[in-house]
Symmetry: C2
Subunit: 182 residues, 2 copies
DNA sequence: TTGACATATATCAAGTCGATACGTATATAC
DNA sequence: GTATATACGTATCGACTTGATATATGTCAA
């Protein structure tokens, strides 16, 4: 039901095509909500239409690919707000990187370094994107939400920068005196 | 493929039943790896067995429910380490709460307060569980990983405590002078 | 003019999620 | 004593998600 709320949330702000909704997922103030793909969004929009929560208008511009522009209805707005008014489920946070760090002693030191580099670069990118969007945004709830994201990403990046050498050390020591598993 | 790596990771450390693997998911040092349920774990174990990466021994103790105890094979250990040696995908972080905060101005101030309370309580619980496990753990890689989790959870909790009043204010102001959507 | 990239809709196989069914054992409450 | 709840344990099901791919058109640069 998360793709559902996400689609309604986007359409609550402005009309959009499925393609646009997809692009908004995981970006800006929606950075920490969902990363739904086409396979979730298109079926979801069809369902919302059949329930009368959104309407669709097809646009056949000459020399352009046809578009389906979705709009939220009043019933849709009401349903969205009602569905938000249930205590939200807790966050899901999954980190393949932390599985790597957990087994650092069995892995190659070079590999660990590369994995940390990639993660640092990713965190920095995400952070600068968020910071840029936060400054040019005037809605206070969006600001609050983005600053939350910035705060946790910053903490994550700082931990990584301060403590990466310790993890690299674990991998280096283990490879110099390899141990039996278990 | 994440349930797969998770199952191998657990079995890399010690033998376990499907039920035990399920309980370990989302707890302790595996807190940020996955939260796989039975519906993922049991099929995954069958598949791993058919690939020869794990073996199973059935235990029919008298007056006890039958158990299937899974063990990782040498091929399994090798496969696990090899599969870890690919650059890990980036984290997925999804927060239904942040969708609520994003639309705070359309929601009830009381509801916002309750949602924040629940989140604070959840973060505090998760943190104290992690801290307890981190102190009684001697593996340096596990320590590093759990401290990473503690750091980000702490940042999250602190932001919430410091800035919750601002979000509550947004909801309160909006309900006193309700505005049209859009 | 070929190739890369952006726009746009849509589907598919494989896997995941959350609930539920089924069954035994043990402890707690009435 | 006998319900009632909780823990252990295996397993499946429908609905949904994931990630890749198919299909088209348009644009821009080498």
């Amino acid at each position: 039901m998360s793709t559902r709320k996400f689609c309604l949330a986007v359409l609550f702000c402005h009309d959009a095509t499925g393609y646009e909704i997809r692009r908004i997922a995981g970006e800006g103030r929606f950075a920490f909500i969902t990363e739904a793909g086409y396979g979730s969004i298109y079926p979801c929009l069809s369902k919302l239409e059949s329930e009368g929560l959104v309407t669709v208008s097809e646009e056949f511009a000459p020399s352009k690919p046809p578009k389906k522009i979705y709009s939220i209805t009043n019933i849709g707005k009401e349903a969205f707000v009602n569905e938000l008014m249930e205590l939200p489920a807790h966050d899901t946070f999954r980190s393949p990187f932390l599985l790597v760090s957990l087994f650092a002693q069995y892995l190659d030191a070079d590999f660990i370094a590369r994995a940390i580099d990639a993660r640092e670069a990713y965190l920095r990118d995400k952070l600068s994107e968020l910071r840029a969007q936060a400054t040019e945004c005037c809605n206070p709830a969006s600001q609050w939400t983005m600053e939350y994201g910035i705060t946790t990403l910053t903490a994550s990046l700082e931990y990584l920068q301060k403590h990466r050498s310790r993890l690299e050390e674990i991998a280096r020591e283990a490879s110099s005196q390899p141990q039996a598993a278990e």
